[in-house]
C-alpha cells in the first residue's frame, strides 16, 4: 500500500509529462487566459471595424451583397448638404457640450471638495443623472421640452419673461441648444465626480502654504489645483469628447434628427441611411467618416493635456 503511493508519487516528479509542463508554462497559459477576451474583441470589434471600412467602399444594401465601387459613397456624401449639416452639428455639439461640461464639472467638483455636511449623500445624488439610462432621461427631457405643455415655458410665462410657449424642439436652433443642454446635464456628474476624486488627492497643506505666501484664490487654483489635476483632466476630457462626438441615444430619443434634419449627428444620420433607408454602404461611409474626426479629437485632448505630465517631472507611467 505504502509502496504503491510512493511509486505513483515519484513518477510525475521524475518525468513530467508535456501536459504538466504546459500547465506551468506562463507563455502558454497566458495565451489561453486571453482567449475569451480576445475572442470577443476580435469577432465583434476588430472584425466589424474593418468590415465597416470595407462596406463604405461598396454599394451594399440590406438583403443584397454589394460590389466594390471605390470612393463613390464618399463622392456622393461630399455633395450632400444633409451630411455637411450633420458634420456641423456634431462639431457644434461636441465642442460646446464638452467645454461647458468641463467648466461646470470642474466648478461642481471644487464646490464638493469643500467641507460640507452630508457629503456622501450629495455625491450620490449628483451622480444619479449618470446612472439612469440615457434614453429614459432623454424621454423626460422630451416631456420637459414639449411644445404645448412644457413646464419650462409654463414657468417662464408665469414669471412673465415670455408671452408664448417656446418651441424647444421644433425650431432648428432651439432644438440644437436643447439637445446640447440635455447632453451637458447628463455629462456633468461624470466629469465632476471623477475630477473630485482627483481633487481629494491634493494635499490641503499646499493651499495653506500658498495662502501664507499671499496667493489669491485664483492663483491657488491656477498654480496648484490645475497643474496637479491635468493628468485626470486629460483622461476625463478624452472620454467626454469621445462619447459626446459619437452620441446617438439622446438625439434619437428626443428629435430623431428633426426638425428637417437640423439636429442630425453623424451617428444618427448613418443609422437613418443604413438601417432605416437600407443603404448599408452609404451609412458605413458616414460612420467611417467619423474616424478621422475621432482620432483628431482624441489626439488633441490626449497629447495637449498629457504633455504637461512629464513637464512636471512625472514618469511616463
Amino acid at each position: 500500500m505504502v509502496d504503491a503511493t510512493l511509486h505513483t508519487r515519484r513518477a510525475p516528479i521524475n518525468e513530467p509529462t508535456t501536459w504538466s509542463r504546459l500547465k506551468t508554462n506562463r507563455q502558454w497559459l497566458g495565451y489561453w487566459f486571453m482567449v475569451p477576451a480576445l475572442g470577443f474583441l476580435i469577432l465583434f470589434l476588430a472584425y466589424p471595424l474593418g468590415l465597416g471600412v470595407w462596406l463604405s467602399f461598396t454599394d451594399t444594401k440590406i438583403g443584397r451583397a454589394g460590389e466594390f465601387i471605390g470612393l463613390e459613397n464618399y463622392d456622393w456624401l461630399r455633395d450632400d448638404s444633409i451630411f455637411w449639416t450633420s458634420v456641423f452639428n456634431t462639431l457644434l455639439y461636441t465642442i460646446v457640450a464638452s467645454a461647458i461640461k468641463f467648466a461646470a464639472g470642474l466648478y461642481l467638483a471644487l464646490l464638493l471638495n469643500k467641507s460640507l455636511p452630508f457629503k456622501a449623500m450629495l455625491r450620490a445624488a449628483i451622480l444619479i443623472p449618470f446612472i439612469v439610462p440615457t434614453v429614459l432621461s432623454a424621454i423626460a427631457f422630451w416631456w420637459i421640452y414639449d411644445t404645448q405643455f412644457s413646464i419650462l415655458s409654463w414657468t417662464l410665462k408665469k414669471i412673465g419673461l415670455i408671452s408664448t410657449n417656446i418651441d424647444f424642439l421644433g425650431d432648428p436652433w432651439n432644438a440644437r441648444w436643447s439637445t446640447i443642454f440635455a447632453n451637458i446635464w447628463r455629462g456633468v456628474p461624470f466629469v465632476a465626480i471623477t475630477l473630485l476624486a482627483g481633487l481629494q488627492t491634493v494635499s490641503p497643506s499646499l493651499y495653506e502654504a500658498a495662502t501664507l505666501d499671499g496667493a489669491t484664490p485664483w492663483q491657488r487654483f491656477r498654480y496648484i489645483t490645475y497643474p496637479l489635476l491635468t493628468p485626470i483632466i486629460a483622461v476625463v476630457m478624452t472620454f467626454s469628447v469621445l462619447f459626446t462626438f459619437t452620441d446617438f441615444q439622446l438625439i434619437w430619443a428626443m428629435t430623431r434628427g428633426g426638425p428637417v434634419n437640423a439636429t442630425h449627428l453623424m451617428a444618427t444620420l448613418s443609422y437613418q441611411r443604413a438601417i432605416m433607408g437600407g443603404a448599408l454602404g452609404e451609412g458605413a461611409a458616414i460612420a467611417t467618416a467619423m474616424i478621422p474626426f475621432l482620432l483628431f479629437a482624441i489626439m488633441i485632448s490626449w497629447f495637449g493635456l498629457q504633455r504637461r505630465k512629464w513637464q512636471q517631472g512625472a514618469d511616463n507611467d
Binding site: 497566458g30 451622480l127 439610462p133 465626480i193
Partner: protein
C-alpha cells in the same frame, strides 16, 4: 517592495486630506459660504434632479391634471394615482421588456467578467510575452464607439443567424464591457501582494487554484465594482439593441419605450414617464446599495 513604497506614498496624501478635511474653510464666514458654496450647489442639485422629480410626478398624476396647467399648480399633485403604472404592468408587455433587459444585462455581464478576470490576471501576473502590448490594445478597444460599429455588426449578426435574438446582444455587449472591466481588474490585481502567489506556487498550487482561491477572494471589491458598472452599461445600451432587435416581445426597456409607447395619444405622457421611472428604478436601487463601489469603478478606471 517598490510596489509597497509606491502604495504608501499614494496613500499618504489622501490620508492627509482626510485628517484636515476642514482645510481653511474656517476662514470663510457663514454668509459668504451661503453665496459662494450653498447657493451654486443647490442650483446644481435642482437642475440635475429636476427631470427625475418631473418624471416621477408625471407618472403618478391623474390624466386630467396632466395637461391642465391653469387650475392646479403643475409642480405638485394631491391626487396621486397608480393608474399609469398599473396600465404599464398589466396592460402592456412592459414586464417582458424588463425581463429581457435584465436577462441580457446579466448574461453579458457574467460573460464579460469571466473573460476579463482571465485576461487581467494573465496580463498582470502571468506576464507572458506581449502582455503589455495586448493590455494597450484592449484599452484602445475601449475607445472604439458603438456608433461606428453597429452597421457592420448588423451584417455580422445577420450572417451568424442571430438577428432579432437577445443572444446577439449578450455576445456583442462584452465588446463594450471587457476593455473597461479588464482595466479595472488589472488595477485591483496589481495591489494584491505577489508574495501570496509565490507561497501558493511553492506549495504546489496550480495557476487556476491561485486565481480562484487567492486572487479572486482578495479582489472581491473590484469584482463588485466591475459588476455594477457593467450591469449599468448594459441596461443603458441603446444603439445595438435598437438595431439588432425587431420583434416587440424581444425588445429591451430603452428601445421599447422609444418605439412602442410613442403613439398619437395626448395622454401618453403618464404611461411614458411611468415606463421611464420603472425602467430606471432597478438601477437606482442597485446604485444606492453600492455607491462606493460604483464611484471607485468610475474613478479607478480613469486613474489607471
Amino acid at each position: 517592495m517598490t510596489d509597497l513604497a509606491v502604495k504608501q506614498t499614494k496613500a499618504a496624501p489622501s490620508k492627509a486630506a482626510d485628517d484636515h478635511s476642514d482645510g481653511m474653510s474656517y476662514l470663510e464666514s457663514i454668509p459668504r459660504q451661503l453665496v459662494t458654496l450653498y447657493l451654486p450647489l443647490s442650483i446644481f442639485l435642482i437642475v440635475l434632479l429636476f427631470p427625475f422629480y418631473w418624471m416621477a410626478l408625471t407618472a403618478i398624476k391623474p390624466n386630467h391634471q396632466l395637461l391642465d396647467m391653469e387650475r392646479v399648480s403643475p409642480f405638485w399633485t394631491w391626487e396621486p394615482t397608480f393608474q399609469h403604472i398599473y396600465k404599464l404592468i398589466f396592460e402592456s408587455q412592459y414586464p417582458l421588456w424588463l425581463w429581457n433587459t435584465m436577462y441580457v444585462a446579466a448574461g453579458a455581464t457574467a460573460l464579460s467578467i469571466a473573460a476579463s478576470v482571465l485576461a487581467a490576471y494573465a496580463i498582470v501576473r502571468l506576464r507572458f510575452k506581449g502582455a503589455q502590448t495586448i493590455g494597450g490594445l484592449i484599452f484602445l478597444a475601449y475607445l472604439v464607439p458603438p456608433s461606428i460599429l453597429f452597421i457592420p455588426l448588423s451584417t455580422v449578426i445577420y450572417n451568424y443567424g442571430l438577428f432579432d435574438s437577445p443572444l446577439a446582444l449578450i455576445l456583442v455587449y462584452p465588446t463594450i464591457l471587457i476593455p473597461f472591466s479588464t482595466w479595472l481588474l488589472m488595477g485591483y490585481f496589481k495591489t494584491i501582494p505577489y508574495e501570496l502567489e509565490e507561497c501558493a506556487l511553492i506549495d504546489g498550487a496550480s495557476r487556476w487554484q491561485i486565481l480562484t482561491k487567492i486572487v479572486l477572494p482578495l479582489a472581491i471589491p473590484g469584482l463588485i465594482s466591475a459588476f455594477i458598472f457593467c450591469f449599468t452599461l448594459c441596461w443603458n445600451e441603446f444603439i445595438y439593441a435598437l438595431t439588432f432587435l425587431q420583434s416587440v416581445q424581444n425588445k429591451t426597456v430603452p428601445v421599447a419605450i422609444v418605439n412602442e409607447f410613442v403613439d398619437g395619444d395626448v395622454y401618453r405622457w403618464g404611461s411614458l414617464m411611468a415606463g421611464a421611472l420603472v425602467g430606471s428604478l432597478p438601477l437606482v436601487i442597485l446604485y444606492a446599495f453600492f455607491v462606493e463601489h460604483y464611484v471607485s469603478a468610475m474613478t479607478g478606471a480613469v486613474k489607471e
